[in-house]
Amino acid sequence: MGITAYGYAMSATTIHDLTGPQATATRRPARTQPPSTPRSSSAARRQVAREVALRVGAVVALVAIWWAVSAWGKPDPTLRPSPLLVWHTFLDLANPAGAGYNGLTLWGHLATSLRRIGIGASAGVGAGLVLGLLMGTIRPIGIVLAPLLNFVRALPPLAYFSLVVVWFGIDEKPKLMLLAIAALPPVAIVTADAVSSAPKALVEAARSLGAGRLGTIRDVVIPSALPQVLVGVRLSVAIAYSSVVAAETVNGLPGIGGMVRDAQNYNNTAVVLVGIFAIGFSGLLIDGAIALATRRTSRWRSLT
């Protein structure tokens, strides 16, 4: 007895649109809906304003303490350069028409280092992504490589810097290698973990639609892992960033890390501080940009 035996096709209009109380009850709050009433949103704004004020106040207090310490007793620009001295040093170094440091402005040094970080970290992150994907999808590879990567991750970059110099000399190569080696393990480990923990229910769903092994990886494993992978990328870039001074230990000029090292040799603490601030602030900017990208791609995660 087949169901086609009746030869009468019901039209699609018998399918009712389902907009009962249930439909609205289980729907999550849409983006278009204001999350709260006007009164509470102004309260939220006041809360934000209070937080901003608190932070600005803390920075002002910190600079005041710094100024007080530097003004204590006999001025000592090597041990305790004043905020004003550091500010003026910054203006000098940042002035495009000025002498800069070692013949290059602060921006020149920063750009050189950023370029190194860009190339080194990209290579490290790229290799880390591929390794992580392989480790997460092919078990033996993961079993062999995971301890090795954790070992490398535990090393401070300065520990393998000597080896890198012995192997690659003192030009650009060792610097890029060091940054790449520093950036590789975190993203690889996180990616391997994210890939191997892809939701089985969704993998099965894709298979039920006819996905092969590659299709499953492309359409389920990678998209589901992406938010976590981007967290790994963020971690890797941060580590590459914090390794830039180590990478520019030898023959680091031009370069912001090299500038810090070199100025330290001449007891020029103000330049050291300008360099530290430059690294710190540019690092914050880049981290913020990656964090923003992460939020964009993982919106579905918080809503499902």
Partner: protein, 269 residues
């Protein structure tokens, strides 16, 4: 044409032969299912009912090809089943990909099916219309209600160009009202598509309303204790009429008694 394709017209859509499935190994192995022999002809809407834990979902997973039998064979159109090739599947949860839109979820099935990309929009819209979701293709899955999401899952499974549709308690997670509406829609859609269907449920009402044939499984290890044809009209009748008919009530009563008895009796080892 291969011999297999030639004989496919005479082959049953699904042939389960002497199948057993046990979990674990050796002395600690727990038999979950079988032995089962079940042949489902093309175009049948078979409903498998049984108490929780009787192995009915296990049986469906074997038919889908997600699992392999410990003993015996499962053949769909004469071949070992491959998910997505021999059958489309609707799970208890919608299992939509949350990073894709509603339309994107259906496109995925179309891409695996080898439908040329220029035909996707029309095909997708037709499928969505079939399950009553006109104009929702660009929505995110999380913007839909549970019932709507399950409709998308059904549309997605229908996009799979396989002759068999498998449904594993597809409405169990929905409220009573939504469930009834979706049952009616599924009945219409399956009659329209003419696909062979196997639905697993523990609801007597659902079984009688949807099935052209009802198979009752005993308690674990699940064995067939009743194989009941349902002679309610499949098309051209209002769902309410079917539910109110005396035939519906008769089968429903018979099934309820049998189900209660079978739930208490495990299959013979």
């Amino acid at each position: 044409m291969s011999p297999a394709a030639e004989s496919s017209s005479t082959q049953p859509a699904i042939a389960v032969t002497a199948v057993r499935r046990s979990f674990g190994r050796g002395a600690t192995a727990v038999p979950a299912l079988g032995p089962i022999d079940l042949t489902i002809a093309k175009g049948e809407f078979a409903v498998i009912v049984g108490a929780s834990g009787c192995g009915k979902s296990t049986l469906l997973r074997l038919i889908a090809g997600f699992d392999t039998a410990s003993e015996g064979t499962v053949l769909l159109a004469g071949e070992a089943p491959v998910p997505g090739r021999h059958s489309g599947i609707v799970f208890q949860q919608p299992r939509l990909l949350p990073w894709r839109t509603v339309g994107g979820n259906i496109d995925l099935a179309l891409s695996y099916a080898g439908v040329p990309q220029r035909d996707w929009p029309a095909t997708r819209d037709a499928l969505l219309e079939r399950v009553g979701l006109v104009g929702l293709a660009t929505r995110h899955t999380w913007e839909l209600s549970g019932g709507q999401q399950q409709r998308v899952a059904i549309a997605r499974a229908l996009a799979v160009p396989a002759p068999v549709l498998l449904l594993d308690e597809p409405f169990a997670a929905l409220d009573a009202l939504t469930r009834e509406v979706l049952q009616e829609d599924l009945r219409a859609v399956s009659a329209e598509s003419g696909r062979t269907a196997v639905l697993v449920t523990h609801s007597v009402d659902e079984a009688v309303f949807l099935g052209s044939r009802i198979v009752v499984l005993s308690a674990r290890p699940g064995q067939i204790v009743l194989d009941l044809p349902v002679d309610l009209p499949r098309t051209g009748v209002e769902p309410a009429e079917i539910r109110a008919s005396s035939e519906f009530a008769r089968i429903r009563g018979e099934l309820a008694v049998e189900l209660r008895r079978s739930a208490a009796t495990p299959g013979a080892a």
